[in-house]
Homo-oligomer: 388 residues x 2
């Protein structure tokens, strides 16, 4: 192996500092392509709008893991496995009941139970590609059950066991609410899961690959990813969007006046602008369409109208476009989902991307390990404590 | 912010792929300096041999967190906090008893309880520097308690509550064995903790900083680091060294003949050679001295002699030197520590480095987020499932 810490001495050139690794290509992937100038997002070569319209979340999971859209028999088999894997070990429900404070931050509680799942998986240490594929299916199947059980237990309700029927979106909404969702709600949840499944080397996916690159197991890797997704710079923006909308609604202020005031004060508007997309985030366009349909169905257009007013004003004033978080906030709100579950739902979806990246990482593993430049002192010596 | 995904289009230059980020400087640090050619390791400007000889683990923790060696009053206050923070919430011991299978991989069980600690810390979401410093002390104080409780519970023994006296090394060995360690054992454990506390942007430290860079909390960050340290390419080498020595001992084969046979077969010898150090790892030299003293004290020189024979043969044949893992194996073995606790003990020590890096990261945070180059297909369209 070469010698990172001495590269400077070895080849006479000082390596360049790239703070935050911005723009550095750390690896190659076949999973997704993002063109931020053109507003294009492809999963395995398929346009996100094509997938959102014409593929289920289960088909997208299959695509991400296997590189091809499933044939009917392959999809049937995957659905069978997903349904079979939905229940979680009673000890884990017990842990949510007795060893998870009711006011726990959802992503912290879920980080813990995802880690715990690994203790109850006899295949946890089997690093064969076949076992890792089974564990990817298992993790994707069980996380919705954990999210729903966490939410019900903290509210003093009985957890609802999965029906082990229908789609992930269907059973998830069923476990969350204790009643079967209508077709519209299921369809919207399914599309939301498709939209959030994969997005290149974002911080949580990168975390999963860094951990995986030590040849640690899949549970260690996705537990780390859960922790990264929890970060406000990563997975938490749509909560902030909804809080803004609720604040505006409660104040009774006119949306145009509100946003004008915020912009004049130089405040940052959450959900607007994206490090990657300089034009419209294609996922935002799709979510906007979903929000329109849902608003009409529910006969409640105020969140849509407020969102549009704010988004248009920010685009006009600052050239920033709505990103995936901007309209998903109102969509989840209209579906009746608790605000602090928005990031866990993101995780339910992104679990497929994380695990697909891990499977890809392990096909040809290489430790991901940059260096740090040292800017501290040298030549210090320990003095006796009385002389310090 | 600039536009990583479109850097290629924007400036006309294709960013260069640096697989594994090898040799890339991702950030600047004041925490440690490694010169692999000269065999130098500094923490905050102090030589590792100076610290191992003249500073306790607690002083090193203070140094890493604060940048200076503590005065007596500062050390006394830190020791007071460490002792106060050693007990863990009874729910967590309960979790180890009832919700952790007895055959759980130690690093997986400990990854879970480190995550769980965050649920029981009222300051978990307080991201002020003061709270993060308190949490760094807390995590460093509690991990030894968790390691010892895990080990005793899985053996069907009662966990031993910390004495809340003496050094971390003292109380850790006390909780592990149920009896107070002698001064020699305490001193060796203390020095081992000093040696493993910090080592630049290794994969677990890098993981902690990537997670922290999303402004996620300290528990999320170190939980991810635990998962990375679990990886065989990172924290697990000294277990493999000890397994080799035990295999050799059981076979009755002569050590010279054994290593000659292994080298002739082209087998990799664990604990020899290092990605960074091209000369002797300074920590190995110190551990060798500790192993000599301990071997004489125990009247058991065979592990030392086998280790020397193997190390010398590998250095001669392949130019590889012993690294930190090579002699720590026999040291821990002679201290009577279970083999699968070697990595958890590494974590007990490295917790100080992880948290020091997080405190540094948050002083001037920047999201750590490289890019991936896309090498997959484009222009695919979803076909009806019957036509695939």
């Amino acid at each position: 192996m070469s010698n990172p810490a001495s590269a400077q001495t070895a080849n006479g050139e000082a390596p360049k500092l790239v703070k935050g690794l911005e723009g550095v290509l750390a690896l190659e992937t076949e999973l997704s392509f993002i063109d931020g100038q053109e507003g294009v997002l492809l999963y395995r070569g398929y346009e996100i709008s094509d997938l959102a319209k014409n593929a289920s979340f289960e088909e997208v999971a299959y695509l991400l893991w296997n590189g091809e859209m499933p044939k009917q028999s392959q999809l049937d088999e995957l659905n069978r496995q997903f349904r079979e894997e939905r229940p979680v070990h009673p000890d884990i429900i017990d842990h949510l009941r007795h060893h998870t404070p009711n006011d726990a931050v959802p992503m912290s509680a879920l980080r813990t139970v995802i880690s715990m799942l690994g203790l109850y998986d006899e295949e946890a240490e089997d690093d064969s590609p076949e076992a890792n594929m089974r564990k990817s299916i298992r993790l994707t199947a069980k996380l919705p059950t954990l999210v729903a059980a966490f939410d019900r237990v903290r509210k003093g309700l009985q957890p609802v066991a999965p029906k082990q029927e229908g789609s992930i979106a269907f059973d998830f909404l069923y476990m969350l609410n204790g009643e079967e969702p209508g077709p519209a709600a299921e369809e919207i949840m399914d599309a939301a899961l498709v939209l959030h499944a994969e997005h290149g080397l974002n911080a949580s996916t990168f975390t999963a690959r860094v951990i995986g690159s030590t040849l640690s197991d899949i549970y260690s890797s996705v537990t780390g990813a859960m922790g990264a997704l929890k970060g406000p710079l990563h997975g938490g923006a749509n909560i902030k969007v909804m809080e803004m909308l609720l604040e505006l609604d409660a104040s009774g202020e006119d949306a145009s006046a509100y946003i004008e005031r915020k912009l004049a004060a130089g405040e940052r508007i959450m959900g607007m602008g994206h490090r990657v997309y300089k034009t419209i985030d294609p996922r935002a366009t799709i979510l906007h369409g979903m929000l329109e349909g849902l608003s009409d169905e529910k006969g409640e257009r105020k969140w849509l109208e407020m969102s549009d007013t704010i988004a248009n004003a920010v685009t006009e004033a600052k050239g920033l476009n709505a990103n995936v978080d901007f309209f998903s906030a109102s969509v989840y709100y209209l579906l009746g989902i608790e605000r602090d579950l928005y990031t866990p739902i993101f995780a339910v979806s992104r679990m497929t991307g994380w695990t697909a990246h891990l499977l890809e990482q392990w096909e040809e593993n290489r430790l991901i390990r940059p260096r740090a430049g040292y800017i501290g002192p040298r030549d210090k010596t320990v003095k006796p404590i009385g002389e310090r």
